[in-house]
Amino acid sequence: MTDVTQPPGAAATLRRWWQRTSRPAEAAKRVQFDRPLLPWLFLMPQLAVIFVFFYWPSVQAITSSFYLEDPFGFGASFVGLDNYRDALGSAEYRRIAGFTALFTALVTALSLGLGLLFAVKADKVIRGRSTYRTALISVYAVAPPVAGLMGMMLFDQHIGPFVTLAAKFGWTMQVGINYWDTAFAMILVSVWKQVPYNFIFFLSGLQGIPASVREAAVIDCKNGFTRFRTAILPLLAPTAFFLLIINITYALFDTFAVIDVMVKDKPANNPITLVYKVYNDGFRGNDIGGSAAQSVILMVVVLVLTLVQFRWLERRVHYG
């Protein structure tokens, strides 16, 4: 029999990791309840929501991914890992996965970079500060499909100002037709949509840095850029870490509406991301099993990414 406290293999590693990261928080705040049922009662509404909207669909997806569903809804047959094999084995899937990686990396890096840049600039503005801030933040209020539509108009073949501008530089932009032109527009609109979010967090992060710490740094370091890099930026690291996770998730999933507007009813050779393919295969192609397998793969990828980030990055960025 195996020792219960030391389960072997991956499970043990995971559990040790979990214990290590969760212990200080546990010790810090522990409330005692007389009756053991009471805390669960308090948790019920939240648990119910999580269950209905997260666990149940997840379990559904995982189950479906092992079946081949009849397209017309007449039963399903168990096919084991076939759906996964099909997905991972397909050249098209790997190509889209490659584009998704590139898309996610670019959208995340650019949104974070621009958000930080604007925040640093806004932080320096003293007069007209709130106007500037409102102007930047208001973009966030635009709903994703609307943002996609606005993007479409900006990149419209006939009336799009961006296309006109590009033409001035000798670039004949064909969004929806040319693969990389579409990718460019997609990335730009996705970044534009996400920058305000990052801006808000970076700005409040910057304003959370005590004035006296900045002033001490002004006395200690003459060069403005070095000062920012060595004394200010490290203090933004917790914010940046949080935003990194949020932005990756955004680029992977929440850009769906933007992509949808750009490639729907367009020729087939347009760039799409994995999430869009899940939707395409499942709801357009009626391949529920394959689509479910793909979404499980995506879920695992995000889970692994998040775990890795927490494991390797989080401990380096919190100063308390």
Partner: protein
């Protein structure tokens, strides 16, 4: 090490209607410990920050050594500042905090190391060098902040209420530590506080500020014994000096119906404000009639609050003195301060003599 010359310095914040600091003149000698003291909002920090370069100077000139620094970057002014809330870099260890300013000035690594080690020894920070600030107590953090200033070996230290965040006991010991350190290093220091005890104990010279102007400059005891105005009189010393409306007629002071002979003809005549410290009042068989309201026990002394001729007055007694509902008081010789009622300025003081008083019928 250097002198600091502040001439005709004013500061008006953008958008403010009145200047926060106006027309300050102050010459600080090399190695001197100057304390700026005054009530909240009087412009102490503003003045200090103009010397540091953290605020623009609206008018006037600041010289550090013989260099005009009005337009010099804070990092190039050769000053080090200690802030009220420590302002340590949270992501750096104690060692890195102290080394940061030196590193940016391209000080050789061996030099940095020896200076940090020396400062750590002086401030007893050795065991904490590799800790982050969050793992230190308030007192330790403030010592790190001092260490950060000390390693720079600057021309001047600027302190902005460095002890205000500490508890009373720690404040007293840190006060001593700052004084010791400054004496030992001989670095010119400008120190802001609103705690008059801190001001009295630390200063070579005290600068009392009121509403952006200098009210009085002088050695702490000088200011204590010869306050230049009612403002200084009420600000320096604890408990605050009693200020009583009175009138001079000929050679005596009239407080209500009580007459206090001053011994000689006075230059000032008419209404004055009489200033008497609580410890300069003595209980006698006759004299100022004093009615007790309440008593504060401080252990070493006992403060008796009450009224003389309808005006509030505080009296300091030794704890073993007998308490009654009413006393008669006399003023210790030479301890009466006279101020102009309207301007609050100090008037020529009466010759010392015993001011036994007599109740007019």
């Amino acid at each position: 090490m250097a002198s600091i010359d502040i001439s005709n310095v004013s500061k008006t914040y953008p958008g403010a209607s009145a200047p926060s600091v106006s027309d300050i003149n102050l010459s600080i000698r090399d190695g001197e410990f100057i304390v700026l003291v005054g009530p909240s909002g009087c412009g102490k920090s503003t003045l200090l920050r103009m010397v540091a370069g953290l605020e623009d100077i609206t008018g006037g000139e600041v010289h550090i050594g013989d260099r005009l620094v009005n337009r010099v970057d804070p990092a190039d002014r050769d000053i080090a500042m200690v802030f009220q809330n420590y302002a340590l870099y949270p992501h750096m260890t104690v060692r890195e905090n102290m080394a940061y300013g030196l590193k940016n000035r391209r000080t050789p690594a061996t030099e940095i190391e020896s200076r940090v080690a020396e400062a750590a020894r002086m401030l007893e920070l050795g065991p904490y060098l590799d800790r982050k600030p969050r793992a230190l107590s308030g007192g330790q953090r403030q010592r790190v902040a001092m260490g950060r200033a000390v390693v720079r070996q600057p021309a001047a230290f600027l302190f902005d209420e460095p002890l205000s965040n500490l508890d009373a006991k720690l404040r007293v010991s840190m006060r001593g530590e700052i004084r010791r350190l400054q004496k030992r290093l001989g670095t010119t220091s400008l120190y802001v506080t609103h705690d008059q005890l801190e001001a009295m104990t630390l200063a070579d010279r005290l600068v009392v500020l009121n509403a952006g102007r200098i009210e009085q400059v002088g050695a702490p005891l000088d200011i204590y014994h010869n306050p230049a105005s009612t403002f200084v009189a009420s600000f320096i010393g604890s408990p605050a000096m009693n200020l009583i409306d009175a009138e001079i007629r000929g050679s005596s002071l009239h407080i209500g119906a009580t007459e206090v002979p001053l011994g000689s003809m006075q230059a000032a005549q008419g209404p004055v404000t009489a200033g008497i410290r609580a410890e300069d009042l003595q209980v006698t068989g006759h004299g100022l009639p004093f009615r007790v309201d309440f008593v504060e026990e401080l252990g070493a002394q006992r403060l008796v609050h009450g009224h003389v001729e309808g005006q509030p007055l505080t009296l300091a007694l030794t704890p073993d003195a007998a308490l009654h509902d009413a006393f008669h008081l006399s003023i210790r010789p030479g301890a009466l301060h006279l101020f102009d009622t309207r301007s609050g300025r100090r008037l020529p003081q009466p010759e010392s003599g015993v001011f036994a008083s007599r109740v007019l019928a």
